[in-house]
């Protein structure tokens, strides 16, 4: 959830807690109605509200109710063990019938129109995705959701989503049964006109960002539900690449592939899929160590470390300079 404070104080709305439900282990779901009996303002899929807690804390939670009924809002709150009291307070202190002050809904995770969507949710990251599914289904778009979690009993709204949309579209992957979401398989193949919306823990989002390197720019939309948990999904630090044939040195930024960076600097590299699949961009490593992210090289080739696919692979953590035969 975004932690940046808004530059103005958003209008607050007083609400009454209509119900407190427990859709999964350690997840509380609050249904809110306005104290004045009015409707809530219309909101867009992906929106969140600020919740003003009694102890002075302000926390942001994504809305996961239907936008069709503006008489109530629903949020889902995971109890996090190291929380500074926000989620614990919601779980332990809030009861049905009590009042709660919230902000008007705001959206930092807007849904862009596209013909096809791939939704990826990890744990409580499902919440902002729920209204998105409702919106794309109503608009007749093609979509599929992969929802991963530790076990089914920790995965809020999983059964509800399966029942509403069917298991063709809603893929529930419980780690204790099927293992983790296989991101390589889900994201290995870039698709045209498909946007990827992902919400979940930092580690998962880091990995998703890695796998989306080969997708057209701008397709990936993410929201981290724990803003400070940016867990490392491999080396995303900028690093330098020296082109041994010309002596030029190029900096590869966090959100850039080596291929893009060296092409911008005027070097020519043969490439085709730009997704680590076809092997066309194979480049000889003169010195330095690569972190291989392609699906073209065999494990033996990756271990030998003599060549790399520059469309997706990067410098290994701790290697700040790669020298490539370019």
């Amino acid at each position: 959830m975004p932690v940046t404070a808004p530059s103005f104080a958003p209008a607050t709305i007083d609400t009454v807690i209509e119900a407190v439900e427990h859709p999964a282990q350690s997840v509380a779901s609050l249904v809110l109605r306005r104290s004045d009996g009015q409707q809530f303002p219309a909101w867009e899929a992906g929106s969140h509200i600020d919740v003003h807690l009694e102890n002075g804390l302000i926390r942001q939670y994504s809305l996961c109710s239907s936008r069709q009924s503006l008489s109530e809002l629903r949020i889902g709150v995971l109890r996090t063990p190291d929380s500074r009291g926000g989620s614990a307070h919601v779980h332990d202190a809030l009861r049905a019938g009590e009042t709660l002050r919230i902000s008007a809904p705001r959206n930092n995770f807007p849904l862009v129109d596209s013909r096809k969507y791939l939704f990826l949710a990890g744990g409580i990251g499902i919440t902002p995705i729920i209204p998105m599914l409702e919106a794309v289904e109503a608009a007749g778009r093609q979509w599929v959701l992969y929802y991963g979690g530790r076990s089914r009993d920790t995965m809020a709204f999983a059964r509800e989503l399966e029942a509403t949309y069917g298991t063709e579209k809603v893929k529930i992957i419980a780690e204790d049964v099927e293992g983790r979401l296989n991101l390589q398989e889900i994201l290995g193949m870039p698709r045209a006109h498909m946007l990827v919306y992902a919400c979940g823990p930092g580690g998962m989002l880091g990995a998703i960002e890695d796998f989306c390197m080969g997708w057209p720019p701008g397709v990936l939309h993410t929201e981290r539900f724990v803003a400070n948990d940016l867990g490392a999904g491999g080396n995303t630090e900028p690093f330098e690449v020296e082109l041994s044939l010309t002596g030029t040195t190029v900096t590869v930024d966090t959100h850039q592939s080596i291929l893009e960076a060296v092409e911008q600097a005027g070097a020519r590299v043969l490439s085709s899929c730009r997704a680590g699949l076809c092997g066309t961009c194979e480049t000889r490593i003169v010195s330095g160590e690569a972190e291989h992210r392609d699906a073209a090289l065999t494990e033996a080739d990756k271990d030998a470390g003599e060549v790399m696919m520059v469309c997706v692979s990067r410098a290994a953590a701790g290697c700040s300079r790669l020298v490539l035969e370019l």
């Binding site: 096809k116 778009r141 698709r191 045209a192 085709s272 194979e282 073209a296």
Partner: protein, 400 residues
């Protein structure tokens, strides 16, 4: 969230008309301009020719299925069921076959072939450079892949004469059952039987791609039937395409003497020249996909079960992707992203081999030939889906 839908442009010209096949590009430009998606009256299928739509169809294998076959009929409706080849399958069947094949053909195994693939090219080009001219197809493009590729697969000498006619059949079947198709299938059974024999485990040498594919049966990854089909896929997809690739590259370079001169100075550019020639004269011009679920493409509604004819060769010349000079060859252009090898799930497994064969032949020719130019009109092959030449006379001056 709304998309404005429109009807497809109705197109009356037949893409499989021999006159269109002989000179396809004016037709393809008209098709591209007609609209994002056209309906071809001649074949009763939809057609996409713009880069954006072609890329979308190729990369969205869930919506645009291969399991209906690459031809105009839905092979799933055929009476006689036959096990699907890798080209005609969707995941999960495709997944195991693809994994078996990429375990065998990958950047590492192809790298090791550069050694054995070079001497035949040296030999052929040395002999040709002594002449004042030759036929770039019959004297070179057709000879080279047959010298190296069947050996790499490891099939016996006997029966190799069936490879070209067999490939011709397989690919022509991606078009309608017209006169061209019937010609290709004239002695179909004999060619098919001979090639199937070459695909058996007993026929293989011990080290080639064929033997390695059969080893995947022992590992339990694929069935014996799938192994046969995979070797057959290599034999049918790996020869004609590369012959046309080499021939088409030379047909382009013979028309661009400055590019030849530039390449002579800098032979390491050969691979970029090959890539640009593949874009401009794509050997595999078109094939079909089957719409798996009702969908919308380029603002046009497509119903499940209909066929879409995908024009790779037209996408590779789309000015919206490649600029106003899309129809000309440029060594300075980055042709990255062209779809001559397809894109996405089914993107050509043989791509590294094909690129290497083409690059080796070109580099060896550059070393020995100072200038090359057309010496008469090239004769295009009349083929339902492949683009190439039967004959391409060139005159040359030898390098001193």
């Amino acid at each position: 969230m709304s998309t404005i839908l429109h009807e497809p442009a109705i197109f009356t010209e037949d893409p499989f008309d021999p006159a269109v096949i002989a000179d396809p590009y004016p037709f393809l430009a008209r098709l591209r301009e007609a609209g994002s998606v056209s309906y071809l009256e001649a074949t009763g299928s939809y057609a996409v020719a713009g880069y954006e739509e072609v890329y979308e169809v190729l990369t969205d294998f869930e919506t645009y299925s291969s399991a209906g076959g690459l031809g105009p009929r839905d092979i799933r409706k055929d009476e006689a069921w036959r096990p699907p080849s890798i080209l005609e399958s969707d995941p999960p069947i495709h997944t195991v076959m693809r994994r078996a094949l990429t375990g065998v053909i990958n950047p590492g195994t192809v790298r090791a072939l550069r050694g054995p693939f070079t001497p035949p090219a040296v030999e052929l080009t040395t002999a040709l450079a002594k002449l004042q001219g030759f036929d770039a197809i019959t004297d070179l493009a057709e000879k080279y892949p047959l010298r190296v590729f069947p050996d790499a697969v490891g099939i016996p000498e006997e029966g190799r004469e069936h490879l070209l006619p067999y490939g011709n059949m397989v690919f022509n079947a991606f078009g309608p059952e017209n006169y061209i198709f019937k010609q290709a299938f004239a002695q179909g059974d004999a060619h098919a039987a001979a090639v199937m024999k070459s695909c058996q485990r007993e026929s293989m040498d011990e080290v080639g791609f064929g033997a390695q594919i059969w080893a995947k049966v022992a590992e339990g990854l694929i069935s014996e039937q799938q192994a046969t089909l995979l070797v057959r896929a290599l034999l049918s997809a790996g020869v004609d395409t590369t012959i046309f690739g080499i021939g088409n590259t030379l047909s382009v370079l013979a028309r661009y003497p400055e590019a030849w001169a530039q390449l002579r100075k800098n032979p390491s550019m050969a691979k970029f020249a090959v890539d640009e020639a593949l874009r401009l004269e794509s050997p595999f011009q078109k094939f079909h996909r089957t719409v798996a679920v009702d969908t919308v493409l380029g603002g046009v509604k497509l119903e499940a079960g209909t066929k879409v004819l995908v024009f790779l060769g037209a996408a590779n010349r789309d000015p919206r992707k490649w600029g106003e000079d899309a129809d000309s060859f440029s060594l300075d252009r980055s042709s990255s992203g062209h779809v001559a090898f397809g894109m996405g799930l089914h993107q050509c497994v043989g791509q590294p081999i094909a690129r290497m064969e083409m690059e080796i032949v070109l580099q060896q020719l550059l070393e020995r030939v100072q200038t090359i130019e057309p010496a008469g009109a090239p004769v295009p092959i009349i083929h339902n889906v492949l683009r190439g030449f039967e004959s391409l006379p060139v005159s040359i001056t030898a390098a001193r």
